[in-house]
């Protein structure tokens, strides 16, 4: 299987690649539109801020490429947030393949931002991407902004507010948490993305 890892400038690119290697898959890091269009699976990683993330995709000429992909796409962390219409972080227009605006997690008593650490997952229904992941299992989150719960939300998590932890709309998937750093839960999600979802 040909897995393209978009070279979006995010710092977790290495970690995502190692996680795929632990599953026996090899991913190639690329910013070449043709290589991305040809791949069987495409992953958009990302750690950082929304505005520089979008600027980088525009610079590389990848905005329309990512928008028009037909094969399964997985956005991770910031990569998931970029799938939405816009982000409050830097007030930036994003890829817009999922409806909704990403907003800052509000501070509240006992609620620290960034939301950093292991938090419970609450699936809202069955999906091939979630096979073997049970309600209450925990995944590793690191973020200050969060996507709204919509009809595309497969899993929610709560940190003061409830937000989208895993999303899917057609062939577009996203995980707010870091599957590459979420022990067996993360490995399961990646494995499902590689082999469980329809191409």
């Amino acid at each position: 299987m040909d897995v393209a890892l978009i070279d979006s400038g995010g710092t977790n690119i290495g970690s995502v690649r190692y996680a795929l290697e632990r599953l026996g898959a090899s991913a190639h890091l690329t910013s070449d539109p043709e290589a991305i269009r040809r791949a069987d699976r495409v992953i958009l990683p990302g750690v950082g801020a929304a505005a520089p993330g979008m600027a980088r995709l525009r610079e590389l000429g990848l905005v329309d490429v990512v928008r028009s992909l037909r094969q399964p796409l997985l956005g991770v962390c910031l990569g998931m947030q970029l799938l939405f219409e816009s982000s409050e972080e830097g007030d930036v227009e994003c890829l817009g393949v999922l409806p909704g605006r990403v907003r800052r997690i509000p501070n509240a008593p006992g609620i620290r931002v960034p939301h950093m650490g292991w938090n419970a997952l609450q699936p809202r229904g069955d999906d091939p991407l979630l096979a073997g992941i049970d309600a209450g299992e925990q995944a590793y989150f690191v973020h200050s902004y969060a996507a709204p719960v919509t009809s595309d939300t497969l899993v929610t998590s709560t940190h003061g507010i409830e937000f989208a932890a895993v999303v899917r709309r057609g062939n577009r998937h996203g995980a707010q948490f870091h599957p590459e750093r979420s022990a067996s839960v993360g490995a399961r999600l990646l494995e499902n993305f590689l082999s469980g979802v329809a191409a």
Binding site: G14, V47, T158
Partner: protein
């Protein structure tokens, strides 16, 4: 609900894990990757690697072992030691670390915190604070703590520095209470409570863990987000599975 984090800290010197008492007299504890894998298997939530000689020796962390750790484990880890620039941090983060922690270089040049936050986001930027109470009763920050001959007291008050670091862009604070480090009599609750009151980002307690009840106490009484320890985990005095079982039974949210 967000779990409280249990964080083994691995002090690294010349590519090996070492442990000292009160930041001195280091003994060899083993290979970095082997220890990282052991803690992953035991249920550690995160690991911190402090290259304790990097800052005093004016050199950056060796990225080879960072990459070996990143390939081996599937839990997050943070790397500290001698990171002085965006370029230094980028090398460590691209090698696979999830966060970088800066201590002495942030004191020497506070703008570094902002530069790192702008480049990678605040969630990647941890500020480590080494703090000791002075005879006048004030907690003040120390620098160059990796080398006793160079450790210096600063005029900065610990609580003021914690506030400043957050304003500059720190996404997490690790407070190393040097007075209790390595002596296993419990975390410095008074200092951690005072830090908690001014810290609105995640706060990690460090220094003093000696028994399971110390973790329970620091989570309940100082409301810290994570507890870091070294010797009690390395020696097996506090096995992580037993620790998490005890915390869970006591009603502290932990990942099982």
């Amino acid at each position: 609900m967000l779990s409280r984090r249990i964080i083994p800290c691995l002090d690294v010197r010349d590519g090996r894990v070492v442990k000292g008492v009160r930041f001195r007299d280091h003994v060899d504890m083993g290979d970095i990757v082997q220890l990282a894998e052991r803690y992953r298997d035991e249920g550690a939530d995160e690991l911190v690697f402090y290259d304790i000689t990097a800052s005093p020796q004016d050199r950056v962390v060796d990225r080879d072992w960072v990459e070996r750790v990143a390939r081996a484990i599937d839990i997050p880890f943070c790397v500290a030691g001698g990171i002085r620039s965006v370029q230094d941090a980028r090398a460590i983060l691209y090698a696979g670390a999830d966060k970088v922690s800066i201590n002495t270089p942030a004191l020497l040049r506070p703008a570094l915190v902002t530069e790192l936050a702008d480049a990678f986001g605040v969630q990647c930027v941890v500020v480590g604070v080494d703090s000791l109470r002075d005879e006048d009763g004030e907690w003040r920050v120390r620098q160059f703590t990796g080398d006793p001959s160079r450790t210096q007291a600063l005029a900065s008050r610990t609580l003021e520095w914690i506030e400043q670091a957050q304003a500059l862009g720190a996404g997490e604070i690790v407070l190393n209470c040097m007075g209790s480090d390595g002596v296993r009599t419990g975390y410095d609750l008074e200092q951690l409570r005072a830090a908690r009151a001014v810290c609105h980002v995640p706060l990690i307690a460090s220094g003093g863990a000696g028994a399971i009840e110390h973790f329970d106490t620091v989570f309940r009484e100082a409301d810290v987000d994570g507890a870091l320890a070294a010797s009690v985990f390395h020696s097996g005095t506090v096995p992580i599975p037993a620790l998490k079982q005890a915390l869970s039974a006591a009603g502290v949210a932990v990942r099982r």
